[in-house]
Assembly symmetry: C2
């Protein structure tokens, strides 16, 4: 497969959601033009994105909704489930445990960890909170494939180092910290303050 | 100003954070090469981004850390404060109220709203939860400039319509819903499931 940019992956996620809705609505086919219109993109962009993964549209007829949805699911790894651990059961972590979209897309939270002795061993929304001190062992034993970090910024690097040590290759980080990982590990940081900065930028410059 | 892409704004947010750290560390200047290295970008990319806003580096000396930080703050609208309202005090909303990075960057939450009669009128982390039924009036009266949506997906469009009616031009949406706004309103949706899909994509295709 050709190198795929971050923005392409993001657009694929968006296409996937449009196709989910269309399938529910009973639509059988969709054109690149219609998909583009729904997502405020150009048809050329849509065709370019989808051509990355081989041709599977029919000229004049467009794409089969179900077929295209399944193809994108496969590309994004949504045609299977993933074993997820969440570290840090504070405000953000607790919100993420309740976030139903994760399970809907196959990301199944299996373990929760915290460092707070008052939380460890307690039940939280159906999960036993485990001791972050046992992280490496527990991640390995439970074959965790993907970890979500929701610990305070000053603890994030230490925790990530343990996660890497446990052999986990994919990390979603919510701590507002500049984390380092080896090249073979994929790290994605969601910084809510950076998201909101797109809005203030727009208010100052675009509107 | 030239048209600035979403990814450029994101990089500016990242540069801003590097410069904050460097200023704390007492560094006076930074080269495009150093900035690129810290953010795993090419020096050419950094120079291109910064040149969008006029030239303010000195060949051979680089950029003044403080000067560059202040320039980016101005571009991103971080050199002032913004009046923010948050709608939906559930799991995600509650986490966002506690998220200290917002206030640090000048995004000051002034009002909380919910539709749940058991929450309305109650104190939540120092805020009185207001009735979403009074949204238009309260947003106007309190000169809210930016709204964060953390309501369930099926209520999001209705709430956003009210926010638009109140004259707010900038909305950060955490509801996993495909929201429509008029062209003069800037909407940004953060979908945590889409963020995690970058990771499963990486696990399937890159690692």
């Amino acid at each position: 497969m050709k190198k795929v940019s971050e923005s392409t992956v993001r657009r694929l996620s968006r296409y996937y959601r449009v196709l989910q809705v269309m399938e529910k609505e009973g639509e059988a086919t969709i054109s690149s033009r219609e998909l583009a219109q729904r997502e405020k993109l150009t048809p050329a962009q849509v065709r370019k994105d989808l051509s990355l993964f081989g041709s599977f549209g029919t000229r004049g007829l467009g794409y089969g909704v179900k077929e295209l949805k399944e193809r994108i699911a496969q590309i994004l790894g949504l045609n299977r489930t993933w074993r997820v651990a969440l570290i840090g059961v504070g405000n953000v972590g607790s919100a993420l445990v309740s976030y139903k979209e994760f399970a809907k897309q196959g990301f199944l939270i299996k373990l929760l960890f915290d460092s707070d002795q008052r939380k460890i061993g307690k039940n939280h929304k159906g999960f036993l909170i485990k001791d972050v001190g046992d992280l490496v062992r527990d991640l390995k034993e439970n074959q965790i494939e993907l970890v979500i970090i929701a610990v305070p910024a000053d603890q994030a690097q230490k925790v990530v180092d343990q996660v890497v040590k446990a052999g986990v290759k994919s990390i979603l980080n919510f701590a507002p910290a500049n984390i380092k990982v080896p090249d073979h590990v994929f790290l994605r940081t969601v910084n809510m303050a950076m998201e909101i900065e797109h809005l203030s930028f727009a208010l100052v410059n675009l509107i």
